[in-house]
Symmetry: C2
Subunit: 323 residues, 2 copies
Amino acid sequence: MGREFDLINRFFSRAVPSGYLGGGDDCALMPVRPGKRLAVSTDLLVEGRHFFSGVSPETLGHKALAVNLSDLAAMGAAPLGCVLGLAIPAIDDQWLSGFSSGFYALADRSGCPLVGGDTTWSGKITLSVTVFGEVDEDRALRRSAARAGDDIWLTGTLGAPHVALLFLQNALPVAVRSQALCVEPALRQALELPEPPLQFGMRLAGLAHAALDISDGLLQDLGHILKASSCGAVIHYESLPVHPALSGFPEPLLPEAVLSGGDVYQLCFTAPPESREVILDQAAACGVDATRVGYITAQPGQQDVICENGVIVQTTRQGFQHF
Amino acid sequence: MGREFDLINRFFSRAVPSGYLGGGDDCALMPVRPGKRLAVSTDLLVEGRHFFSGVSPETLGHKALAVNLSDLAAMGAAPLGCVLGLAIPAIDDQWLSGFSSGFYALADRSGCPLVGGDTTWSGKITLSVTVFGEVDEDRALRRSAARAGDDIWLTGTLGAPHVALLFLQNALPVAVRSQALCVEPALRQALELPEPPLQFGMRLAGLAHAALDISDGLLQDLGHILKASSCGAVIHYESLPVHPALSGFPEPLLPEAVLSGGDVYQLCFTAPPESREVILDQAAACGVDATRVGYITAQPGQQDVICENGVIVQTTRQGFQHF
């Protein structure tokens, strides 16, 4: 359905003024003071589309903010605050209490205070979260800044949110389902409580070249960097950080989850090889796992995933789509 | 239903950090640079709740932005940009083209570029608009800044959006309906194409004391200023700027529309008497009608509307409610 959204976006892609960055990156940028940019990201989440109707309100509150903070992280921006639009079918104190607890807990930990909002009625729960941050004009991590020779890095791990989603949708093969049942808590946590590496993203500003958050799957999201930067990539499959709960999961589920599984909300970024040591130091200082998984090439259109035996696993840019 | 929303807001009213202004005013304020505040306002609009299902997409695009710009105007903030969340049931090129035209036309005229957004599916059209602006820290027009002795001013006119809404809902008495039919275009324009006085709002910053935009009706909205400022008000009914299309409309419809009719998106502000001349000059320079309609008293709880014969028309703070 991605192509359908391209159809919609045609109507909303007019040029923005000089000093602004419009759509097509993780955040929009606006000039607020000399040398600084206001980074803004917004998401609209609809019950039954973006989250299950019965999901715990605490985790929903957490995730509604996390998926936006992840965009600030991918821009290298420091959070300033957020606003929440909330449309609900009825007033349910327990639900509201849980939702606000989950939301505030992450907002507090992230230094991103909830400063305003709007509440109204709707047949299905609909959430609109907008986050604001600030980043140095010349240090913002834009998708278009990757260069040939850059290392490609990932934070965190891949695959678990995708398997969790299939598990909750009863869409796993029976044999795998029992395997998933044994690690259900870890899978659910990866899907429902993503922890975007905000602090690390801020430290990457000025250190990394390009960055984005993985929401639609590694191949598809990396493809956005490659397209915006007019370059290619080689990924070493065995280097990819697979979530430990997926150990022993069979093919073709595992490579599919790792390469194309979405809902990850960790960063994919590129940086010059001379920054390797400082990147690992900064990651350690932030308690983040950073893994080098490949490199950027000068060949636009190239997106090779190579196994140790030299076989190219998959070269499409297709990834998981939300819709 | 206002009381029900108070119930919801309990869950989202935690304190914000020093230098921030949280909920309860037209915009939230965040520190972005010394002496400056980032002003942010967000609205969630749901089909069938905030707008009729068949409304023209051009006017919907205009109004979705206008109701937020009106909050910037009421804060005295200069627009920086906006983001749009759009959930729709299906892709309709004609609808999207009309909606984006109406939205962009007002955004362009207001110097408030659309910088980003999110699109998704929903059974009913749901719009989330967030606007950003900037205002001097010590010149922001807060609801709490009214002082006894201030004049009370209004921009634009009152009443027409309320009568238009009743007309479109087929809720006008038959006799009045034919009268409304004669001025339908003017009524619809007042309801569907509000023009918030952004430029004038920016000039009021530092000149006026308190301000807000009239969305729920003069009495209810003025009541917010009085409560926040711990003072009272006397309004001269005959001074109120009634929309010309309502000339000759009967009681009790007319005073109800004028005093309690919502959806106006014009400003109510207070300013010291010595600023009268400069306020009128600034209004003229902006092509805005500004009318002095009463004064602020030192008596909290007082909200008298006085006719020429001295009769108090109405003293409740109840106004039109959206829900």
